[in-house]
Amino acid sequence: MEKAQATRPDGTGADASANKDSVVCYCFNKTRGDLDASYKRCGSLAGVQAETRVGTNCGGCRLLLESMFGEAPGDILAMRGSPLTNSRFCVKPGTRIMKGFVAADHELDTLIYASNGVPPQFGNQDTTIPVEYALLDANGRRVTGRRFEWRTGETFCFDTSKVDIPRPLYGMFLFQIGRENYGASRFNLVWTNGVSSCSTHEVNDSGRPSVVLPLFADRAFLEGPNRVFVSVQNPHPRPIRLLFSLFDEANRPIAEFPIALDPGSTRWLDVNREFYGPALARAPSARVAMRIASDPVDVSQSPTIYFFFHNRNTGIWTANHL
């Protein structure tokens, strides 16, 4: 199904017209190669638009045109202010530190992947940047890490099964970039037991100081195949306190459990055993849900939270972020 148009990010491959088959304008089916050729003939974006009509219908490609040819399409200024089309590229100069949860124990290992790829319509761009990563343990102490130059198009991988680290380890992975260009940034996490793998992306902090694990549990759930786990992390440079509150469907409080988190620290919690079980022991016929809130509730103290389901019958782990 693929056109097998492999192009190298530095343009030095067999086909130097990098990404020429990447469609830019879907309305008129014009590729990057079509538009580059048109620009050579016309010498201006206005000329390209007159010749190919790109960017004159739905407008979805106008930002790309602006980037490709260094000038705004004729009517792009008129689009400013519209929440649907007002846009600028995601150039975000400056240092950023992304964070994610790492588990390395008797059952799970964690892999981290990031690609310094370039959006295909952009063609050749140098996206080399300095990167530093670090793995912190549950107490926020550095276990390992290094600095390197991340070259254009390179894939970064960190695999807990391939490094010498103490086990069990439940910690925080930090990935610091100095981004000044159009390259990719975000990393994904994969948790695997060798048979089942699940994946989601880094979360700097939730930005939400009070969240509910979107699930009600009752006795039948506890006796069923699913175990629920959460990782909670403090991504801030100061200590935070979290309050785990169990409540029923009528929002009546059942139990509360405070937890303190030092900067950079992580807690890996068995929700069935530590929260649902004790709450259902107090209210056996209830269906209970769990809120995780900073105490006091304050957006500047939002934790980073991932939640996991483990199915005992199949061995399958699934995960997401809150």
Binding site: M1, R96, F187, S197, S199, R208, V211, V299, I316
Partner: protein
Amino acid sequence: MIPDPESMSMVMLGGYLPPTDQYSTFIHLFPGNNAHAPWGTSGHFHFEVTVYVGGKETGRIASPICDEKGNIRVELNPAAEGPGKAVKGMFVVHSHHAREIPVEVYAFHIHKATGTYVSCNITPFIGDQLYPAVHSDQMENTLFWPGIIADQDNDPYSILVNPYDVAMGYQIHLITPEGETVHGESLKLRPKQSIEHSICGMFERYEADIRKRNGRYSFCVSSQYKLVTYFMLKNKPHQVIAMMDHLHNFCLA
């Protein structure tokens, strides 16, 4: 209590409905999940879900109204299937929330045979009042997923949902561990339809290497306007969705 429309905002979200004979799908909304600051019980939250199968609307569900202390759960399968039918499709959620406080919405898919839970964000495709430009600001018509998992137990898929009323053009691109880009065909997704693409099937010549170098390949989806896009892993031994998460833009916001 009927909320005052002047105090409400609305955001549109889209999601994928997996096969109804295999999965029970529901949305469970806890409005308190987006509390940017402590706030009381003055807000009202509700949503309407429209389910589409094969591009045709099969049902609409209007949720009850609740405030920040409440929650709303809505089952989607009844709106998708007629008696005895097993289908898959997509849904659009019009989520009404207290002014300037949009809510994170999760769908759960429970595999009927094994009881496996998979949760998945339902993603916005049009800006909201709190972040009016965020979904267009970051060139979200090119979305990215680093780390394609593909091994003997897991098959990778890309799921696309077109929540619009017109067909949308799109292209899937494979990015090799060395940063080379392999372009898939330019395709169109009809209005209100979803599609699963096997990544190994789409890039057949690369399948052996994708599996051999498990996780080192990445992919992205470029489209006319932002489509709702997911990366999905299917566990082969149990034929169960093991994860499904939304693609993200290349850079951090």
